[in-house]
Subunit: 362 residues, 4 copies
Amino acid sequence: MSFNTFGRVLRFTTWGESHGPALGAVVDGCPPGIALSESDIQPYLDARKPGTSRFTTQRREADEVRILSGVFAGNDGIQRTTGTPISLMIENTDQRSKDYSDVAQSYRPGHADYAYDAKYGFRDYRGGGRSSARETAARVAAGAVARLIVPGVAIRGWVSAIGGDEIDAANFDANEIGNNPFFCPDAHAAKRWEAMVDAARKDGSSLGAVVTCEATGVPAGWGAPLYAKLDADLAAGMMGINAVKGVEIGDGFAAATLRGEQNADPMRPGADGSTPQFEANHAGGIAGGISTGQPVRLRVAFKPTSSILIPVPTVTRDGHASEIVTKGRHDPCVGIRGVPVVEAMMALVLADHSMLHRAQCG
Amino acid sequence: MSFNTFGRVLRFTTWGESHGPALGAVVDGCPPGIALSESDIQPYLDARKPGTSRFTTQRREADEVRILSGVFAGNDGIQRTTGTPISLMIENTDQRSKDYSDVAQSYRPGHADYAYDAKYGFRDYRGGGRSSARETAARVAAGAVARLIVPGVAIRGWVSAIGGDEIDAANFDANEIGNNPFFCPDAHAAKRWEAMVDAARKDGSSLGAVVTCEATGVPAGWGAPLYAKLDADLAAGMMGINAVKGVEIGDGFAAATLRGEQNADPMRPGADGSTPQFEANHAGGIAGGISTGQPVRLRVAFKPTSSILIPVPTVTRDGHASEIVTKGRHDPCVGIRGVPVVEAMMALVLADHSMLHRAQCG
Amino acid sequence: MSFNTFGRVLRFTTWGESHGPALGAVVDGCPPGIALSESDIQPYLDARKPGTSRFTTQRREADEVRILSGVFAGNDGIQRTTGTPISLMIENTDQRSKDYSDVAQSYRPGHADYAYDAKYGFRDYRGGGRSSARETAARVAAGAVARLIVPGVAIRGWVSAIGGDEIDAANFDANEIGNNPFFCPDAHAAKRWEAMVDAARKDGSSLGAVVTCEATGVPAGWGAPLYAKLDADLAAGMMGINAVKGVEIGDGFAAATLRGEQNADPMRPGADGSTPQFEANHAGGIAGGISTGQPVRLRVAFKPTSSILIPVPTVTRDGHASEIVTKGRHDPCVGIRGVPVVEAMMALVLADHSMLHRAQCG
Amino acid sequence: MSFNTFGRVLRFTTWGESHGPALGAVVDGCPPGIALSESDIQPYLDARKPGTSRFTTQRREADEVRILSGVFAGNDGIQRTTGTPISLMIENTDQRSKDYSDVAQSYRPGHADYAYDAKYGFRDYRGGGRSSARETAARVAAGAVARLIVPGVAIRGWVSAIGGDEIDAANFDANEIGNNPFFCPDAHAAKRWEAMVDAARKDGSSLGAVVTCEATGVPAGWGAPLYAKLDADLAAGMMGINAVKGVEIGDGFAAATLRGEQNADPMRPGADGSTPQFEANHAGGIAGGISTGQPVRLRVAFKPTSSILIPVPTVTRDGHASEIVTKGRHDPCVGIRGVPVVEAMMALVLADHSMLHRAQCG
């Protein structure tokens, strides 16, 4: 199957290929009356936009979003959501008319090339077609709408490791994230990564990365157990991002090395006498699939970009041994531009669950 | 919301609480004509069953499954699925009539107690109610049906680490898995774990674990990109299991430390001249959200059981500081009995995707 | 496919065959805190129960419902919904162990026999298996739960025609509905129908019927256009009932014979100065797929029972010409017992949409 | 809620308002390898297009469809579906910049105006916004894709009554349908309707209509009982079309007037010795929610257009009594242009069920 809708009551559907005329998302179920214009979305697309530093692909896309439906300006002149589906479109402008014969004939290991052929019988090989990370622009646009649905929630993502080199928690400075091309909150790590990514790029290689994302302001009670648990929906949303191979909620795999008393998040009465406080957050803000009121925190593993200039053995479509070098414009570390995508999926899942919770529990 | 259905075309819905009269699953969409009786399901329930060694909870449940619908014996006397919903029921028999006043009044940190109260206003506190791992019996029963839908797929899970102590790949022996109470394929590790779990149990503590699961015989082509990718659906299925905090496909977080050429799974022509072979499986058998024909491999992190005898600070329902000791019968390492559950979810996701693939691609 | 779940956020899944051990429904998504016990459900099952007069099938079923999950009695001793799935089970007790060789070998025209064989390859022929109207007991039980979710809505159905003989609107008396075995609000019509149904029964024939159902107290604003319109969901719910062949909202097909000014529902200011009033209700309380605040009114056409004693030409499973007489215990007019089922589906759709509306619009 | 996706495995999502820049549909789940270009879709849009005779609205829209994704031309130059989502867009070009103050301030009875305001708090009043029948262009485009998925199925709709004046079955000539502006298969009726519709138009009034639609070539076995029955999904699809108030499968309400033996569809052995034949089709080709192999036949009631020049009492948004005359360009009988829409929904439901059936039954 092809299945291109995500969400339960706030639902979005994306469409488009890397080298088609455009790509887009239809966001359905958004509450009415929310002020929304292109300028609410564009900054998030700009954060994800390619070609902004030498550490990302050099494809140049304006990534300008247009809202084609679902909004209306009333007498006060402010354009608001009407409650009907919001169609967002981004035109492709820099599809390079290069020769795709290599990719058309041979499978790039690590890419979806062979899997798409095996599934569908043929594929749009231009720039990866539907499997291109270019589609994540549609998610980022949809995510910008989702943020407006949960205005009390603040979502912030960053790169916490590149090529196995982790940031130092002691150096964490949220203000630093926007100061370097790596969404890195640790100025020292950013410096190191600059050298690392440059070296990998020059080698024709690539690097993996870990993205951390945190949402504060999520009230206790969101999540729809047992099969639409908040953490399960987040895991689905994150694992579905291109190049992602692992997801952790809270301490994740580290929790598996702990003893029960180490992993406990002790509680104490809150200052207001009603809402309890937690003295730790190993759980990442989710228990039993439901938010606890603590920050929702997760980590996402991105593999190194599969498109590299170092030759890899492969086979051709007609079954012959070959070797492939993936030329073209690629991110040396695809995890970097994953930050806005992870944030967008976080926003979409949280907004959906805020509405799901209201449906049942008022 | 409460949302208790999983799957897209093969769908199952579970119901039941830890201390209610029974629990069950309705499996819908199963193809007709598959021989099915209780004896096809019972062995998997027996593998998950509590009380079989001192390393699991001492609650004694027969966990006998009854098939209440969806099967019919024709002239040959063989009972087969009819294509209609299969209702599976397991009666609870060993709910202990103990005093629940502690748990009723105070929140057990790490448990869903507080989150359920915050969401629903009150909760069935007897044995954890709906949030109890007892519900996973229903998944295991449903998973046994799913296995019959994909008879060419072999699914095998094992515990690969307890309390941070990993098995040695050199000692891996699949036949060993059934020979110890830990689903451990490494006889040496099993020996070590025996001492570790015993010690934790005696301390009134608990241990985390990692479960690995592998499915062989999955053909290339299963998965429904972009929002029902095979890995995303697996991640949702696994992260929704009680106590799970992390999911990795293939190399997972380790892939984030590699360079592109290290992480590549080189291809070469297959012996039959048509199906390509892979020289590595960093990807865990999934590319672009679609199976590649390699074994599908994943790892799942289970946190240590939250129910411990070591006191943890907490608050009462009415907001006072307290301390809680979780008495009762509990698994000292809940990840151990997670193995049959992980296998069941793997089977359910794969069977669903085999049918989804057929729907679109014939 | 087999697809046995209905609803969007309030969802129910049914299972069970006519001659299996039991049948049931799992109601998922119900808000927490609603007082619920078997006694809230049983009266609706009793209204639908077979064998209560000579005008229905003589199969004797107690149709006693058991609640197996999803409820909990707190300190006040009142059992309430917990927000988790509610499993309802009804045991079959009067499956007659007759010889089914006729039905097993030949297709009963008008029944699902041939269609099930064509779809699934074989079928449970005992009493119609899954296609039996006996399954509607599960819907009635689920519908009783749904009514509690929308306590401000009053739902009332009645038979408005049998065998083409319609009630006289001038004689309409709601109190009469419970006074005769036909759910007939017109005492004179009930008298005529008694003779008609008796005659049909004695002839070994059967009669069709029309059921009308009205819901008052539905506020304006329910419905999820464009593809979950309130009327579309009602149409799906009604058309899915056994033996139903037509659904009308408001004036239905009669509206197709009118001119625009005749079909208009003029509006005038309401007494309270805010909520408008309507001077007619041709629309049946729904415009643009959304409730208008008027009574929601619909009509449902039931075909005559296909099981008749008059021989009908048919074919055997192996393709030979035959003739079939459907012995056994059958309703001479299946539409009569359709009333509680139509009411139940109305309740389920309205409760679902009350929650869907709240999800988006607060 | 707003819910704008229809279908189960073949799913389409529509977006767009009457006076926005464009409208469109995303068709997801379409099998790969089907030749598809704009020219496969355009003829169906042309059949629905406004402004082609004096019997439809005089709004002039080219209704030119663009395919923005989901297709790819391989080496043979033929553009085919790739299995990924197909985005279809139609630009609005003739939104008339008239003054909407009347409609903005007052509710048009029979329209969705009041219901949208009650639900969402405000509405896009330009041309009816999202509730405009203009959206059906997106369904027609999606339906054209669906037809290609079930190439063995022939779908044909026609108007069978206008203003209560029915066609004469004896005059039925399929070739006549395209010869008059009414999709009327009876040349005599078409003549009468010309006068009737002209008269209604001159009176500033409007007329209701009945559309009949038949699909031949549907094999036995499609349908997903019990809650995605083929007839239930068709009913939902049809009742969701603008202005529809009734749906009948086969004989529909007429079946409710018959006796069992009259309504039976007797069977006899087929010429090929295997597939049975039916001697009648009261059932409209569906039994137990599953197709029987007979033609699938249904009837749909369209109310008269609510937009009329005859004044109707109404209220203003601020609750004052008023009267409204709906100027602008409107269809005097909206049922006429309903024919391509009914056909499209029939195609979409059948294509979806062909795939659903394959998912479970191979």
